[in-house]
């Protein structure tokens, strides 16, 4: 590989979303005719890097050099024109079109001006499908009838239908069965033999050794190391992804007094994402939920809150272990649960409504003798006191909450529950997109509630947050509990190993 111009050079690449720096001067070399695996924990920058290479995201600073020529794709299309193709993790198959139309939507063969040449489309589509081992599939079939695995293969076939120099695959095997994976790998090796360079993102560390030539480990938006894939053990990769124990910027909480059992989750199954989780949370305890994106944390919290039904398992509440199976979020709230969603904008806020209305919505003050009638004076008075207590910065209680900063919005979304006697808090990424000052305020609030006897279950992708806020950290991996730690026993390496545990065996499909 040395002495030859690399296929793609990434130099000092930087990218921030708001105040959040995702890539911090990242370097990477991709050789001609190699399969190059990319691994890293949540937020390491894998997806952002690939999207910048493919022209889907723009960069803030840094350079890309493709076959010795500076490369700056303005769009996904421009990237494809230069032979850089990315198969997206989220499926972009259009269910209303046929398989063939999906494959060649970017370049439908036409004649007489704009009439689609059906016969030629069929021929080229059949050829493309045959290459991904789907020769049996009718190209005229509606894409809606395909299973997820087949959709993924069609997606990859669409990527391969174009002549490509760089092919980027983001977790391509997540939805594939064993046979489909074998087909895919054979195909990728064939592409490599033809001189294409493949960037392969995966959480399944075992398949990397089997498939890739080299593997690069990313952490915090930087390259940690590039190593020969076959000689690098799974343990070594996890160690590199975890890195040194980061300096703790927030002092660990004084251990809270653990009270009686508040919530028992027993063998909970919910959808495909939660596959038998058992977990206890006690009064006064903050339990962290860690794991990779897609580990099933959000789905677990939603099922406990009654936002989604769960298929199997049971929930019990309080020291008396009262059985609890919420039919609605209304019941869950009445039973003393509270939920703070991950996606503040879409699931937490009533963006056009006033700060006051957003703050009061979890419990509206009633007039004493008129059931169902609002006491608007009390609403104004009580929410003003609450907003002061939460130190929310706002101009006017009647201004739309969309005008506030993210941190202040989040304080309202969490603090609105203080108007209820909440015994079990379910928080999903409670400090995402929140500045440091607001973050400290939120930590103080959660600790204060825990000290007052509330039980907390906090899902977080932020290792620091888990290590400093929580009394106990439970790691989920592919919908199952893969490890449990106390702040004393938690190390980045052990955490990372647990988070990847569920990916060790092939997907059951």
């Amino acid at each position: 590989m040395s002495g030859v111009v690399p296929r793609l050079q990434v130099r000092a690449l930087k990218k921030s979303f708001g105040a959040n720096a995702v890539l911090r001067g990242l370097d990477l070399d991709l050789a001609v005719g190699e399969i190059h695996a990319l691994v890293g924990g949540n937020g390491a920058g894998k997806s952002t890097l690939s999207k910048i290479i493919a022209g889907i995201e723009t960069r803030d600073a840094g350079a890309l050099v493709l076959d010795g020529v500076p490369f700056a794709p303005a769009s996904r299309r421009a990237g494809q024109a230069a032979g850089v193709v990315m198969v997206l993790q989220e499926l972009s198959v259009l269910p209303t079109l046929s398989v063939a139309e999906n494959l060649f939507l970017h370049a439908l063969p036409a004649r007489f001006g704009d009439v689609i040449d059906r016969r030629r489309l069929r021929t080229v589509a059949s050829a493309a499908l045959a290459r991904v081992g789907l020769a049996a599939l009718d190209p005229d079939e509606s894409a809606a009838t395909l299973g997820v695995g087949h959709q993924q293969l069609v997606e990859i076939a669409a990527g391969l239908a174009q002549e490509c120099r760089v092919l980027i695959l983001d977790e391509p095997t997540a939805a594939l069965t064993g046979a489909e994976i074998a087909t895919l790998f054979a195909l990728l090796r064939e592409l490599r033999a033809k001189g294409a360079s493949l960037l392969y993102i995966s959480h399944r560390l075992d398949e990397i050794g089997a498939l890739a030539d080299r593997v690069s480990v990313l952490r915090d938006g930087q390259l940690v190391a590039t190593l020969p894939a076959r000689e690098t053990s799974r343990e070594r990769l996890i160690e590199l992804m975890a890195g040194e124990a980061a300096a703790r910027s927030v002092a660990p909480a004084a251990p809270t007094r653990r009270g009686a059992l508040a919530l028992r989750i027993a063998d909970l199954h919910a959808g495909p994402a939660v596959r038998g989780v058992s977990l206890d949370v006690h009064a006064g305890e903050i339990v962290g939920l860690g794991g990779l994106v897609g580990a099933g944390r959000t789905e677990l919290l939603r099922a406990v809150f009654g936002a989604d039904r769960f298929a199997r398992g049971s929930l019990q509440l309080g020291p008396g272990l009262t059985p609890f199976r919420p039919a609605s979020t209304r019941e869950a709230v009445a039973a003393g649960l509270a939920f703070v969603p991950e996606d503040r904008m879409h699931h937490g806020l009533f963006a056009p409504l006033s700060v006051r209305r957003n703050a009061s919505v979890a419990r509206l003050p009633l007039r004493r003798f008129l059931p169902g009638w609002l006491d608007r004076e009390a609403e104004a008075r009580e929410t003003a006191a609450l907003l002061t207590q939460l130190q929310v910065r706002y101009a006017d209680p009647t201004q739309p909450i969309a005008e506030l900063s993210g941190g202040n919005q989040q304080k309202v979304v969490i603090g609105r529950w203080l108007r209820r006697d909440v015994r079990v808090w379910l928080l999903d990424e409670p400090t995402r997109g929140v500045d440091m000052a607001a973050r400290r305020g939120i930590y103080a609030l959660l600790r204060e509630r825990a000290a007052a006897g509330a039980a907390m279950l906090v899902a977080s992708s932020d290792y620091e947050e888990l290590a400093t806020l929580c009394d106990r950290i439970v790691v989920l991996s592919r919908g199952e509990v893969a490890g449990e730690f106390t702040p004393a026993t938690l190390t980045p390496a052990a955490f990372m190993a647990a988070a990847f545990r569920g990916f060790a065996e092939p997907a059951p499909n």
């Binding site: 709230v333 699931h347 806020l349 963006a351 056009p352 005008e403």
Partner: protein, 319 residues
């Protein structure tokens, strides 16, 4: 700020109505008369009641296209009870309102159970309920005379009982929307259904109730129509749903949900009725009346869109 915006919007509407009344008065010397007032107020109770129900549904993020047909079902049930079964008027009216309540509950239940857009479900009932109205009356108009004359009585200043009822219900609806927990939950569901669900509000319960309210109000609208015509006509109220939507939208109700005002809807109804009466006074032909009405509706919606764009200017929100 929110409150002030609503107030200025209401004033703008009231000014528009006053301008219309002034304009028609200048154009036609006979427009400003008690007779005109009576004509206008007699025509609007049906539309006003249907429009109030529509506003409930729209604020909660849905739409109810079945109100015209449901009003016909109520009229048909009333006519059948009185003319065919000889039932007392009160009992017949109760049966009519019960039938319209059932229609509303069916709308709500179908939207909830099938997780289908209310547009499609209520479009189904627009057809289905109309068919029921024909079946109940055997496709014939039932002549009832003065049986519902009580609604047509004019106890004060030439204003009918039906009009006063619509006015009173507007006040009650305004209170429900702005002063009750249920009203607040409607706004929450219409603004962001997922967020409402995640603070413990039940969107399906809210939807059920607003469709029930819309159904009953449509039924009352049907009875007002019967009272005015002295007959139960299975064709009654066709197109009522579109006029009701027009009134609500002129009143500033958002078709995207979460925003609306009952008094403003009522003024929207007055604007439509004044326009109709005024154009009739000027001797404008029926086709031309519809053209002008269409222009006014679109103009109002355009104004609403521009205002909404100004109000919801994309604000910088840190990620």
């Amino acid at each position: 700020m929110f409150r002030h915006r609503a107030t200025s919007e209401f004033l703008f509407l009231a000014l528009l109505l006053a301008a219309l009344v002034g304009l028609f008065g200048v154009l036609n010397e006979h427009f400003w008369s008690l007779a005109t007032l009576q004509t206008v107020t007699n025509r609007i109770p049906s539309l006003a009641l249907a429009a109030l129900g529509m506003t409930f549904v729209l604020v909660a993020g849905g739409i109810d296209l079945s109100v015209g047909s449901v009003s016909a079902v109520a009229g048909a049930v009333f006519g059948w009870c009185v003319a065919d079964r000889g039932a007392p008027v009160a009992m017949a009216a109760g049966a009519a309102l019960a039938a319209s309540l059932v229609c509303g509950l069916v709308n709500g239940a179908l939207v909830n159970a099938l997780r289908m857009p209310s547009f499609i479900v209520t479009l189904g009932l627009l057809e289905g309920a109309r068919g029921v109205a024909y079946l109940v009356t055997s496709s014939q108009t039932k002549y009832l005379g003065e049986r519902l004359g009580v609604l047509q009585a004019t106890p004060v200043g030439g204003l009918s009982v039906a009009f006063l009822l619509a006015l009173a219900l507007t006040g009650i609806a305004h209170f429900v929307l702005t002063r009750t927990v249920f009203g607040r939950h409607m706004v929450a569901v219409g603004t962001n259904e997922e967020a409402a669900l995640l603070v413990g509000v039940s969107p399906s319960r809210v939807r059920m109730i607003v469709f029930a309210i819309s159904g009953v109000l449509a039924g009352l609208a049907g009875l007002c129509h019967v009272a005015r015509l002295g007959a139960a006509d299975p064709n009654a109220g066709s197109g009522l749903e579109l006029s009701a939507i027009a009134a609500a939208v002129i009143g500033g109700t958002s078709l995207m949900g979460g925003r609306g005002s009952m008094p403003a809807t009522f003024v929207g109804v007055l604007i439509i009725a004044t326009l109709e009466a005024g154009l009739a006074h000027l001797g404008v032909s029926e086709p031309m009346k519809r053209v002008v009405t269409g222009v006014v509706i679109v103009g109002a919606v355009a104004a609403e869109a521009v205002r909404a764009r100004l109000a919801d200017r994309p604000r910088k929100i840190s990620p």
